[in-house]
Amino acid sequence: MLQIKNLHASVEEKDILKGIDLEVNPGEVHAIMGPNGSGKSTLAAVVSGKEEFEITDGDVLMEGEDISELDPEERAHKGIFLSFQYPVEIPGVTVTNFIKTAINETRKAKGQEDMPAGEMLKKIKEKADLLEIDRKFLSRSLNEGFSGGEKKRNEIFQMAMMEPKLAILDETDSGLDIDALKIVANGVNKLKSDDNAVIVITHYQRLLDYIVPDYVHVLMDGKIVKSGTKELAYELEEKGYDWIKEELV
C-alpha cells in the first residue's frame, strides 16, 4: 500500500530524514518508535504532505503511485489520514460541520455526490458512540478548549468518519489517561481490517499493548536503524535506546 524508498527530507536546509525505507501492506500495523528529535513526526508530516518539508531524495508511493508532488488534500483523497500530535484549535467551526465538510469535499474530489444528511447523521452517531463521545461535544468549536484527551479522541473520531486506507497516528497516546487510551485503542482496532493499514508513532510501548503491531521500527537520526516484531517494543521499554546506538557503533 505505502512504499517509502530512500526518503530524504529537510526543513529550512536542515536534513531530518536521511534515507528511510518502509513498506506497509494492507492489513498491517506498523509501530515507529524512537527518541525525541529522531524524525518520527517529520516522517508523518512528509507522508501527509506538509509543505514546509522538502523531499530532497527518494520516493513515496501510495498504491504504486508517486504522491510526493501531491497536495495534502489530494493525499487525503487517496486515503491517507494523519492523526495529529497537536490538533489545531479552530474557533468558529463546529466538530460536526468540520467533519461534514471534510467528507463531502473528499466525495466531491472523487466525483461523488454529497453524503445524504440522514446517512451522515447516522454515521456521526455511530462513530461517536464507538469512541464514547458525548453528543454535546460535537457542536463545540473544533478542538477549542478541548482537553488533551478530548483532542485525541476527536482525531480518532475523524478517522472513523473518513475511513482512510492508511492511518498515521502521531503520538496519539500522549496526553491520554489509561481509560481514554483504551477507548482510543479500541476504536482503532474496531476500524482495522484486512484492507487498511495503521502506522503508530509513539515513544512508549504502552499504547502497543492495546494496538498490537505486526512490525516495530526504530527511527534514530533520520534513519530506520532496526526493525523487528512487537517483542522489540518490550525490549526498548526495558532497556531504552542506548543499546541500539551501541550496536550501531
Binding site: F98, T101, M162
Partner: protein, 437 residues
C-alpha cells in the same frame, strides 16, 4: 474652483430657497461657517492620518442633481430584503422616491426628514433632537448646512416595530459625479424597539461621494439594532457619521459590514448618558483591490454601570488598506464600567496594509476595560490540518476566514440579512458555500 469653493458658493444659492424662519436656519449658518473655517480634513489631523480624501476631492461633483432621476423597481429590487416585509425609505440621487418607498404614520413615523423640517407638527421634535448629538466636525457641519433629505424615524414609547426599516440611498450615475449628503434622524422613545438596515448603492461607474450623517436617540430602555451594509461599487466612496445618544437601560447595536466601495470612512460615536447602557459595535471588513476602509469609533462613557463591546474583524487582500481607530473614553463618573474592545485582522496578501490603533482614556478608578488587536496571516498549521482532512486549499482558506468572522455574523438577528451577508462573504472570498457555519 475647488470643491470647497464650489460648496460655499452653492450654499448661498441653497440658502435662498430656504425660509429664514426654519427652525434649523441658525444651525445651518453656523455649520457652513465651521466648514468654511476648517475645510476638508487632511492627513495632518491625527484621526485622518491613514485616510486621504485628496483624490476624491479633485472630482467635479454635482451638489444637487440637475434633474429628478427615477429607477425601475426591477432594476433595484435585489438590494431590498424579500422574505420579510419591511418599511422602506428610498432616495434616488438624494431625492426621495415615493414609488420605491413604503413609509408609514400609523403609530410610528417612518418618513422623510424634509417633511419633518418643514411641517409644524414635527417642530418640537426637530428642536429637541436635530443636530443635538452630531459632533461638530467640519464634515458633519457640511452635512448640516446642506441637510434637506434623509430618513426621519420616530418610534413612540413602548412600541415594538414589527418590520425592519430599510434606508437605501441609490445613485443612478446620471450625473458624471455626484456628492450626496443624506441626513437621518432617528428617535426611539422609552422601551421602543427597532431594527434598521442602511445601505448606499451606486448603480453605475460614475463617481459618487456620500457624506452621510445619522443621529440616533435611544431613550430609556430603548433597543436599537442597526445594520450598515457597505458593498458599493469601486467608483463610490462613503464618509459616514453616526452619532448615538443613549439614555439609561438602553441597548444600541451597530453592525457594519464593509465589503465594497473605493473609500469608506465610518465615524461611529456612542454617548452613554444614563446608567446601565449597553453599546455594541461589531464589524466585518473584507477588502480587495485598492479598497480602503477606515473605522473610527468612539464610545463615550459618561454614566456609571454601563457596558460596551466592540468586535471588528478585517480580512485584507491585494493592495487593500484597513484602519481601525477605536477610542473608549471613560469619564470620572462612569464607575463600574465593563468595556471591551477587540480588533483582529488577517492580511492575505503581501501588499495589503492594516493600521490598528486602540485608544483608552480612563478617568474613573473602578472600571474593567480590556482591549486587544492583532494583525496576522491565516494560520498555516490550521490550513494544513484542514487540508489533511481532504478540504482543498481554497475552501480551507475560506473556512478559516469564515470561522474568523463568524462570531460577528452571529449577531445578525434578521435571518434573511444574515443569509445575504453570508453569500456576500462567500462571493468576496471566491467560494461556493459548501458548508454552513
Amino acid at each position: 474652483m475647488s470643491l470647497k469653493e464650489k460648496l460655499l458658493s452653492s450654499y448661498l444659492a441653497f440658502e435662498d430657497h430656504l425660509g429664514i424662519d426654519s427652525p434649523v436656519h441658525d444651525l445651518r449658518a453656523h455649520a457652513i461657517k465651521n466648514f468654511e473655517d476648517h475645510g476638508f480634513p487632511t492627513k495632518k489631523e491625527e484621526s485622518w492620518k491613514y485616510t486621504s480624501l485628496n483624490s476624491l476631492l479633485k472630482k467635479d461633483y454635482s451638489i444637487f442633481p440637475n434633474k429628478e432621476n427615477t429607477l425601475e423597481l426591477k432594476d433595484v429590487k435585489k438590494y431590498f430584503l424579500h422574505d420579510v416585509d419591511t418599511y422602506k425609505v428610498v432616495f434616488v440621487d438624494g431625492v426621495y422616491s415615493s414609488f420605491l418607498s413604503e413609509t408609514t404614520h400609523d403609530g410610528i413615523d417612518v418618513c422623510l426628514l424634509s417633511a419633518a423640517l418643514s411641517k409644524d407638527k414635527y417642530k418640537p421634535v426637530i428642536e429637541a433632537y436635530f443636530n443635538q448629538v452630531a459632533k461638530e466636525s467640519s464634515l458633519t457641519s457640511l452635512n448640516t448646512a446642506f441637510a434637506k433629505e434623509g430618513a426621519y424615524l420616530y418610534i413612540p414609547k413602548h412600541t415594538e416595530v414589527e418590520k425592519p426599516i430599510e434606508i437605501i440611498n441609490f445613485a443612478t450615475g446620471n450625473e458624471a459625479a455626484i456628492l450626496l449628503q443624506p441626513r437621518n434622524l432617528i428617535v426611539v422613545e422609552e422601551n421602543a424597539h427597532v431594527q434598521i438596515i442602511e445601505r448606499h448603492q451606486s448603480l453605475s461607474d460614475n463617481a459618487v461621494l456620500t457624506n452621510s450623517v445619522t443621529e440616533i436617540f435611544a431613550e430609556k430602555r430603548a433597543f436599537v439594532d442597526y445594520y450598515k451594509i457597505q458593498n458599493d461599487r469601486e467608483s463610490a466612496s462613503l464618509i459616514d457619521h453616526t452619532h448615538i445618544k443613549q439614555e439609561r437601560d438602553s441597548i444600541c447595536k451597530v453592525h457594519t459590514f464593509s465589503f465594497g466601495g473605493k473609500l469608506t470612512r465610518n465615524n461611529l460615536n456612542f454617548y452613554q448618558y444614563g446608567e446601565h447602557c449597553d453599546s455594541v459595535l461589531n464589524g466585518i471588513t473584507i477588502l480587495e483591490g485598492k479598497q480602503h476602509v477606515d473605522h473610527n469609533t468612539l464610545v463615550h462613557h459618561i454614566a456609571p454601570n454601563c457596558e460596551s463591546h466592540q468586535d471588528y474583524k478585517g480580512i485584507f487582500d491585494d493592495n487593500s488598506t484597513g484602519v481601525f481607530n477605536g477610542k473608549v473614553y471613560v469619564e470620572k463618573e462612569a464607575q463600574k464600567l465593563d468595556a471591551f474592545q477587540q480588533n483582529n485582522n488577517i492580511l492575505i496578501s503581501d501588499k495589503a496594509t492594516c493600521n490598528s490603533k486602540p485608544q483608552l482614556e480612563i478617568f474613573a478608578d473602578d472600571v474593567k476595560c480590556s482591549h486587544g488587536c492583532t494583525i496576522g496571516q491565516l494560520d498555516e498549521e490550521a490550513l494544513f490540518y484542514l487540508r489533511s482532512r481532504g478540504i482543498a486549499k481554497k475552501e480551507a482558506r475560506a473556512l478559516l476566514m469564515y470561522a474568523f468572522a463568524n462570531n460577528v455574523l452571529e449577531g445578525v438577528k434578521i435571518p434573511e440579512l444574515k443569509q445575504r451577508i453570508n453569500k456576500l462573504i462567500a462571493h468576496k472570498i471566491g467560494v461556493n458555500l459548501g458548508f454552513n457555519l
